[in-house]
C-alpha cells in the first residue's frame, strides 16, 4: 500500500524498526562489556541482543521491500 506515488506505510514501519533494532542491539552488545548495575531478571539471556537483531532484520526487510520508488 503506497501513499499514492510516495512512501509506503510499510517503509515507515521498516525504517522505525531498523532504527530501534540498531539502538537496542547496539546497547545489548555494549552491556556485554559494561553490565548494568541492577540487571533485570534473565539478564544472562541477553534479550537486548537477539530482540534487537530481530527488530533490525525485520526492519531492514520491510525497508528494502518497500523502498520509495520501488513497485511492490
Amino acid at each position: 500500500m503506497h501513499t499514492g506515488s510516495g512512501i509506503s506505510i510499510w517503509f515507515f514501519i521498516g525504517a522505525l524498526l531498523t532504527i530501534y533494532g540498531a539502538l537496542i542491539l547496539g546497547y545489548g552488545v555494549y552491556s556485554l562489556a559494561a553490565p548494568p548495575e541492577r540487571p533485570p531478571v534473565l539478564h544472562e539471556l541477553h534479550a537486548g541482543i537477539w530482540w534487537g537483531a530481530v527488530l533490525l532484520v525485520v526492519g531492514l526487510g520491510y525497508s528494502y521491500a518497500h523502498l520509495p520508488g520501488k513497485r511492490s
Binding site: T3, I9, F12, L16, Y27, L42, A47, G48
Partner: protein
C-alpha cells in the same frame, strides 16, 4: 514519590523517535487530505491488511492493554473471553454478513447508515449519543493513561495528557483518517514488538505454560485461574463469579456484537477499504490478530501471578499500603525483564496503544460531528472544502473536550463509573436497530427510531433502578450476588430485547417501505457480488472458517 521505572537516555531517545515519526507521517500525508472522501474516508483506498490492522489497533488502547493484563491477574485466564468469544464471532459476523451492507450503501458512518435505512431521527439520536460518548471516553482513557505514567514513570499528569493528545490532534488534523490509519498500523507493530518480550521471557522463567500453571496453583491453591471454561458451571466456581450463560449470551452475543459491529470507532477503518472484498477481509484479518492478543496481554497478567514475589491489590488498598495495584502488572513485568532500550520500546508500546485508541476516537468523532450532526442539522449545503475544514477543527476541538473531560475526571473520579455505564446504554440497542435494519425488510423508519430510543431508555431505567435499589439486581441479572460485569451483560441483553421487540411491534403497526427505497441497504434488496470467480484462498469466507477453527482449538486447549 517513588516510581517503578527509571528511564535511561536510550529509552527516552526511543520514545522521542516514535513521536517524531508519527508527526512526520501526519505532515507527510497533509497534502493528500483535501477532499471530504480523503479526509473522512482515507480516499477509500486501503488494502485489506491496512484496514484490518488499523481496525484492531484502534481497539488496542493502552487501557485495553493494561486493563486486561490487570484483569488476568485478578480473575485469571477467564479474562481471555473478552478476546475470544467476546470478539471473534462478532468480528467474523461483521466481515461476512454486515460489511456488504455498510460498504455497498456507500455510507460514511454508522449513523449515516441509519439515516439511509431509517431516516433522520434515528441518525440524529445515534450521532449525538456517539459523538458525546466518544469524547468523554477518550478523556477517561487519557486520564487513566496519565495516571499510570505518573505511577510508573513519575511523569507529571499534565505533561502526559498534553504532549500525547496534542500529538494525536496534530497528526489527525493534518492527514485525516488516512494519517490515523497509517499511524495505527505503525502503532500495531510497536505494540507487538514492544510487548512480546514479556511473555517470551516470562514463559522461560516460569518453565513454559505447564510451569506457569504449577506456580499459580502453588501460589493461590487453586487451578481455577488457568481454566477458561471448566469452572463456569456455577457462579461460585470461578474467580469472576460468572456463569457460562453470561459469557456466551451476554458477552459473546449482545455486548460483543454491539461493540464490534456498530461502534463507528472501529467500523470506520473498514469503510475506508478499497473494495468490497477488502472490506469483508479486513475484520477477518483483525480477528486473526485479536485472537493472538492474549499472548501479550493476558499471559503477562498470569505470569504476574506466577513469578512476582509480592501480591498486587486493588487501587485503594495499594494507595493505603504503599503497595502496587493490579493495574500496574504490565509495567511491573516490563520492569522485571527489560533493561535500557527494551524498556523504552515497552513504554513506547503503551504510548502507541494510547495514541491509536485516541486517534480512533477523534477521527470517528470528527466524521460523525461533521457529516451526521453539522451537515445534517445545521448547514446542509456548504462546499466540500468547508466540511473538510470543519473536520480539521473538530479534530482539535474533540481533543480539547477530551482533555477537559480528563481534568473533570481528575476532580470527580466517580464520573468514570458513570460514563462507562453510559457507554453501555447505547451499544446493545444500537446493534438491535442496525441488525434488523440490515436483515429485515419489514422494519420501518418509525420502528427503527422507537426501538432504538426505547432500548436506550430501558437500559438507563434499569441502571437507575439498581442504583436506587441495589436488590433490583436480582431481577435484572437473576442473582443478587451478580457483580458489575454481570449486571452490564444482562442489562445489555434486556435492552437489546426491548429494542428488537419495540422495533418489530412498531414496524408491524406502520406502513412498510417500498422495496426500491431499500436497495443497497437490506438483505433481499441488495445485490451482493458473488465470489465464484475468486480463488478459494482469496475468499473472505475461507479465511473466516480458518479463523473459526483456530478459535475453537484455542478454547479447547485452555478449557
Amino acid at each position: 514519590m517513588t516510581h517503578l521505572i527509571a528511564l535511561s537516555p536510550l529509552d527516552l531517545a526511543i520514545i522521542a523517535i516514535y513521536f517524531a515519526f508519527v508527526l512526520y507521517i501526519g505532515y507527510y500525508l497533509k497534502g493528500r487530505a483535501t477532499t471530504g472522501d480523503d479526509f473522512f474516508l482515507a480516499g477509500r483506498e486501503m488494502t485489506a491488511w491496512i484496514a484490518g490492522l488499523s481496525f484492531l489497533s484502534a481497539n488496542l488502547g493502552s487501557l485495553e492493554l493494561m486493563g486486561w493484563a490487570a484483569a488476568a491477574y485478578q480473575y485469571g485466564i477467564l479474562a481471555v473471553h473478552w478476546y475470544w468469544i467476546g470478539a471473534i464471532p462478532a468480528m467474523l459476523f461483521l466481515g461476512i454478513v454486515m460489511m456488504p451492507f455498510y460498504y455497498i450503501s456507500k455510507t460514511h458512518s454508522v449513523p449515516g447508515y441509519l439515516q439511509l435505512r431509517f431516516g433522520e431521527p434515528s441518525r440524529a439520536l445515534s450521532a449525538v449519543t456517539f459523538a458525546f460518548m466518544t469524547v468523554l471516553m477518550s478523556g477517561i482513557n487519557m486520564y487513566s493513561m496519565a495516571l499510570v505514567m505518573k505511577v510508573v514513570l513519575g511523569w507529571d499528569i499534565n505533561f502526559s495528557i498534553w504532549v500525547s493528545s496534542i500529538t494525536v490532534a496534530i497528526y489527525v488534523a493534518l492527514g485525516g483518517l488516512r494519517s490515523a490509519i497509517f499511524n495505527e498500523v505503525l502503532q500495531f507493530f510497536l505494540i507487538w514488538f514492544g510487548a512480546m518480550l514479556v511473555p517470551i521471557l516470562g514463559l522461560i522463567e516460569a518453565g513454559g505454560f505447564a510451569g506457569l500453571r504449577e506456580r499459580i496453583i502453588a501460589n493461590l491453591g487453586s487451578d481455577a485461574y488457568t481454566h477458561a471454561w471448566s469452572t463456569l458451571g456455577s457462579f461460585n466456581g470461578n474467580p469472576m463469579g460468572i456463569h457460562w450463560t453470561g459469557i456466551v449470551f451476554g458477552l459473546g452475543f449482545v455486548i460483543s456484537f454491539g461493540y464490534w459491529t456498530t461502534d463507528f470507532l472501529v467500523v470506520q477503518r473498514v469503510l475506508a477499504a478499497k473494495d468490497l472484498r477488502s472490506a469483508k477481509l479486513a475484520p477477518i484479518i483483525g480477528a486473526a490478530f485479536k485472537m493472538m492478543v492474549p499472548f501479550i496481554v493476558i499471559l503477562p497478567g498470569l505470569l504476574g501471578l506466577a513469578v512476582l514475589p509480592f501480591h498486587l491489590t486493588g487501587e485503594a488498598e495499594a494507595i493505603a499500603t504503599g503497595g502496587h495495584s493490579y493495574n500496574e502488572v504490565l509495567p511491573l513485568m516490563l520492569a522485571r525483564y527489560c533493561g535500557p532500550g527494551l524498556m523504552g520500546l515497552g513504554i513506547t508500546a503503551l504510548i502507541a496503544g494510547f495514541m491509536s485508541g485516541m486517534a480512533g476516537n477523534v477521527s470517528a468523532f470528527a466524521t460523525v460531528w461533521t457529516y451526521d450532526i453539522y451537515r445534517a442539522l445545521m448547514r446542509k449545503d456548504a462546499s466540500d472544502a468547508h466540511y473538510v475544514a470543519m473536520g480539521r477543527w473538530c479534530t482539535i476541538l474533540g481533543v480539547l473536550v477530551s482533555i477537559g473531560t480528563a481534568y473533570l475526571v481528575m476532580q470527580f473520579q466517580s464520573i468514570m463509573d458513570y460514563v462507562q455505564a453510559l457507554f453501555s446504554f447505547f451499544i446493545a440497542p444500537l446493534f438491535g436497530t442496525v441488525i434488523l435494519g440490515m436483515l429485515w425488510k419489514r422494519a420501518t423508519p418509525a420502528g427503527g427510531f422507537w426501538g432504538l430510543l426505547s432500548g436506550t431508555l430501558g437500559s438507563i431505567a434499569m441502571w437507575a433502578w439498581v442504583k436506587a435499589d441495589p436488590s433490583a439486581i436480582g431481577y435484572i441479572a437473576f442473582s443478587e450476588h451478580a457483580k458489575d460485569m454481570a449486571e452490564n451483560m444482562y442489562r445489555g441483553l434486556w435492552s437489546w430485547i426491548i429494542c428488537v421487540g419495540v422495533t418489530v411491534g412498531v414496524s408491524y403497526c406502520t406502513r412498510p417501505q417500498p422495496e426500491a427505497a431499500l436497495t443497497g441497504l437490506v438483505y433481499g434488496c441488495t445485490h451482493i457480488p458473488g465470489e465464484e470467480q475468486t480463488p478459494l484462498h482469496h475468499r473472505p469466507a475461507f479465511w473466516a472458517v480458518a479463523v473459526s477453527v483456530v478459535f475453537v482449538i484455542l478454547n479447547l486447549i485452555f478449557w
